[in-house]
Amino acid sequence: MSSSFKGKNLFGSGPHRFALGKQGSLVLSNIALGVFGPGSVPLGLLELDVLVTGRLVSQSESGLWFFRDAIVAELVHPPTAGTLIDLHGRTWTGMSLITYQEADRTDRGRVRSMAYTAVFRRFQDPP
């Protein structure tokens, strides 16, 4: 099956993989809180991040821009949540696309392609 975000196949033009970000507690040291001492304070669980790394692929320059623009169009303020589904049907609800980082260049060989990393977050308090 193909992956999707808000029902749109944003990454299907090329290979892409899903991974989870760091999970666990957000812990601040006492020093950071203005308390002199070696201890630390757990503030709560980190928000869930899902990272999609891959490569957009097209036969043409304009086709590649179409795929790039489609992803950038999902970067809005405030971020709006939707459902993210990976290639195996794993579903994360309430996810917002927060960053989309491209590689340093478009690759132009047999096809036009661009490597990228997109980060989705489930906000604890949705904006």
């Binding site: 090329g14 892409h16 993989r17 891959g54 490569r55 692929v57 290639l87 690759d107 047999r110 392609s113």
Partner: protein, 138 residues
């Protein structure tokens, strides 16, 4: 591409004599190889950056102080044919930059000069090596 005993070899308008061999090598400078989440094997491979280099091997039979220098650029032209006749003769040409000029000296081979050049594309998309019918030209 390998050419043995090319007929006439010129670089930047200067004739290089006694060339015994010209090799055109192509190699990937950057390779794209990508996997998906569906299995162990790559599903995309591409070569978005390539290098084309030429090696010109020349027998040096006498004193020669006119050795090309790294960085010199010009058009390299040579002609080749599958057999020693004018039939199917091909003119091979490219814009090239000298990368190195080295000499090997031995009793068995005498003095052999190897000149390495990088082929340059006119616009980045066109193949830097041009092969045309040489017809009857020298």
């Amino acid at each position: 591409m390998l050419t043995i005993n090319p007929k006439t070899v010129t670089f930047a308008g200067v004739t290089w004599d006694n060339v015994t061999l010209i090799a055109v090598d192509r190699a990937a400078h950057k390779t794209v190889l990508e996997w998906s989440d569906l299995g162990a094997y790559p599903i995309l491979s591409d070569v978005p950056e390539q290098k084309v280099t030429l090696k010109v091997v020349q027998s040096v039979l006498r004193d020669d102080i006119g050795v090309p220098r790294p960085g010199e650029s010009g058009e390299l032209v040579f002609r080749t044919a599958p057999v020693d006749s004018d039939g199917s003769r091909r003119r091979v040409s490219c814009q090239a930059v000298v990368l190195s000029a080295r000499h090997e000296i031995s009793e068995a081979k005498g003095a052999v000069r190897t000149i390495e050049l990088a082929a340059i594309s006119s616009d980045g998309a066109a193949d830097p090596i041009s092969i045309t019918d040489a017809g009857g030209e020298e």
